[in-house]
């Protein structure tokens, strides 16, 4: 594991190495993964700019979410993220955003795709690029940042993030459940929720009814609607996702350098 302390280090290493992997260990990552140079971005952390009156923070992506919350709170702001059952409360941003991880404030405060206003990204060549802006409302150009949220680090390495923040008094009022191990997260349409919970039976560890999300042990149910995320493997079955992910990979990372094996296409 190579510790990354600065964006310049990251650029240099990414440029030099043929295969690099950069997210923290997480049960929702694919496994097993082929060999690659492991980069640990967590030392590359800290707030770069905070603008409470604009409700915007610019932060290095290795920063842990709990640490970010602590620092934002001093400015009367916070991220509407409530760690899901089984989640490390100080998970780093680059992993949470790369996996588009669900959380317990989703019903009222949406998630990463709505919060990420802009990104600084390291490309496989080591080149640094920006997308989005600090403005809360911005339609200039293509929203590449939306594409990178949930892309599992396969299209670029997120080095810095511009996030929309929320006044403390407007944060979701949900208590984090006590620590538990879960194997999957499953979300469905609200009208399918009762049936989903019933079909899962004892597998349900925590049910977030407001967002129609179940956190469970064992295997997710076969459901008529929605999606699931489960431990140990990530494969694309939807042909549209597969086709365009392949095209995206061919554009952004044609040599397959970034997070090899993280997605089975």
């Amino acid at each position: 594991m190579t510790l990354i302390h600065s964006i310049e280090d990251l650029q240099t290493l990414v440029k030099e190495k043929p295969l690099v992997r950069h997210m923290s260990p997480h049960r929702f990552r694919n496994s097993p993964l082929p060999p690659a140079v492991e980069l640990d971005l967590r030392p590359c952390r800290g707030i770069i700019e905070v603008h409470p009156s604009d409700q915007v923070v610019v932060v290095r992506a290795g920063m842990g979410i709990r640490d970010l919350q602590t620092e934002l709170a001093a400015h009367g702001q916070g991220l509407p993220w409530i760690a899901a059952p089984g989640e490390d409360p100080n998970l780093d941003l680059v992993t949470a955003i790369g996996l588009n991880l669900p959380h317990l404030g989703m019903a009222t405060h949406a998630s990463w795709r709505e919060w990420v206003l802009g990104l600084t990204v390291i490309q496989p060549s080591g080149e640094l690029v920006h997308c989005g802006s600090r403005a809360v409302k911005n339609v200039a150009g293509y929203d590449v940042q939306r594409l990178l949220v949930g892309a599992r680090g396969t299209l670029g390495i997120i080095a810095e993030v511009i996030l929309r923040t929320c006044p403390l008094k407007a944060l979701p009022s949900v208590d984090s459940p006590s620590a538990m191990e879960i194997d999957f997260i499953q979300r469905c349409l609200p009208t399918d929720f009762v049936a989903l919970v019933e079909s899962l039976g004892d597998s349900v560890a925590y049910a977030d009814e407001a967002a129609s999300v179940v956190y469970g042990v064992g295997k997710p149910a076969v459901s008529g609607s929605g999606w699931s995320l489960f431990a140990g493997s990530y494969a694309i079955s939807d042909p549209v996702q597969a086709k365009y992910w392949q095209r995206a990979k061919a554009e952004f990372d044609p040599s397959g350098k970034l997070n090899p094996g993280e997605v089975q296409l």
């Binding site: 802006s133 929203d143 009208t191 999606w227 365009y244």
Partner: protein, 477 residues
Amino acid sequence: MEIERSWLQELSQILRADQLLTGAAARRGYDCDAYTVDRFPPVAVALPESTAEVAELVRWCNVRKVPFTARGAGTGLSGGSLPALGGLVISTKKLTKILEIDLPNRQMLAQTGIANKKLSDAVKAAGLHFAPDPSSQTVATLGGNIAENAGGPHTLKYGVTSSHVVAITMVAPEGDVVELGSRVPGGPGLDLAGLVIGSEGTLGIATEAWVTLTPLPNHVITALVAFGTVRAATESVAEIIASGTIPAALEIMDRGILGALKAAFGLEYPAGTEALLLVECDADSADIVNAEMATVDAICRAQNCLNLETAEDEAARQKLWTARKKGVGAMGRLAPSIVTHDGVIPRSKLPEMLDTVYEVASRHQIGVANIFHAGDGNLHPCFYFDDRDPDQVRRVVEAGEEIMRRCIELGGSITGEHGIGVEKLDLMGLMFSPADLEFQAQAKRIFNDGALCNPCKVLPNQKSCVEHKSRWRGVAW
């Protein structure tokens, strides 16, 4: 260019005769959207009635190498539906059906040619609405809203189109029909629908979409506050947001707009009014709304407002909205042409930015009026001028670019909701480096690797567009 006879014959295999407009009047009518500075006529306008027909048209365009541009109601403000290289305009005018309303899940499936407001009207009785509310919502289409990621006065609290469209049926640039997104949002994988929303019709033609429906609030209070200076109004906005209150809408209109409203509709405001601030607070509980409005009231009074009028019932609230809703239309009284800019700045910079707008307009000797989404920091300086006078056009373009530069310097954006289109192509290089633009081009090529689907938009310096550009400007005069 007249359409070739052989093309007509081929298109008649796809469409009925009344679904294809080829006359001079149609070609003239479809040569621009509501951004009228740049124009170019299509060879024909197609009016498909189904996703399958759109797909057939797009495949035909690929075979014949004909550029094609989707168009909704043509209310776009940056030239997004300008057929920049001619070719075929594919109108969604006949794709207006609501296909499914799922009230328990608060979602609706509709064809994309439907007017924004009709979506809300269809579910009003159920206490729901489609939240994005661009000022053109009575005619602007869902497809146009998706293309431009449209906003509106209430996006401050409710978010823009991308927060309310979960799945899209799209005809991709080569003619494949693809389903993007999911009715159950927030899942793993690439957010392809998120990339398409706001891509200005350059990644394909959306023909159907699942939208989410938002409950109408039980309690709404609207306030119209008159200020003796624009700065007092903008500073009030910054203080309201800083207090942690997020109103549903925070809109400002300056003296230029008030003058137009007086000329057009005889509307009068207190003597000495330099700016009006419209604030709307809504919630399910009266206590919350009252508390929010008390905060607003205290802040505005501390900023020495001249007058503060509130309304709770629908008719009285709509009366307070008159100035905001009729403001742009009223500007028709001031000059033959209006160019509405769309810069964004972090809202804390609003007071400073407004000063810049007035200074720039005065230096270029152009009339300016401001009507804008203050809560989002989304400015709409409206320059009024005569577009038959090339010198005035030049000054309007220069002043606009100066304002945009300042928005970028202050950490903002060159467009908050109107899009890049062709209008702001040259400004993209101010906001993004060549490497950033190539990064965006990579994203574009995931869907559109050719030069046929709405060419010359969003990204500058596209092949065969640069040399063509001089033909757009002033072509109609």
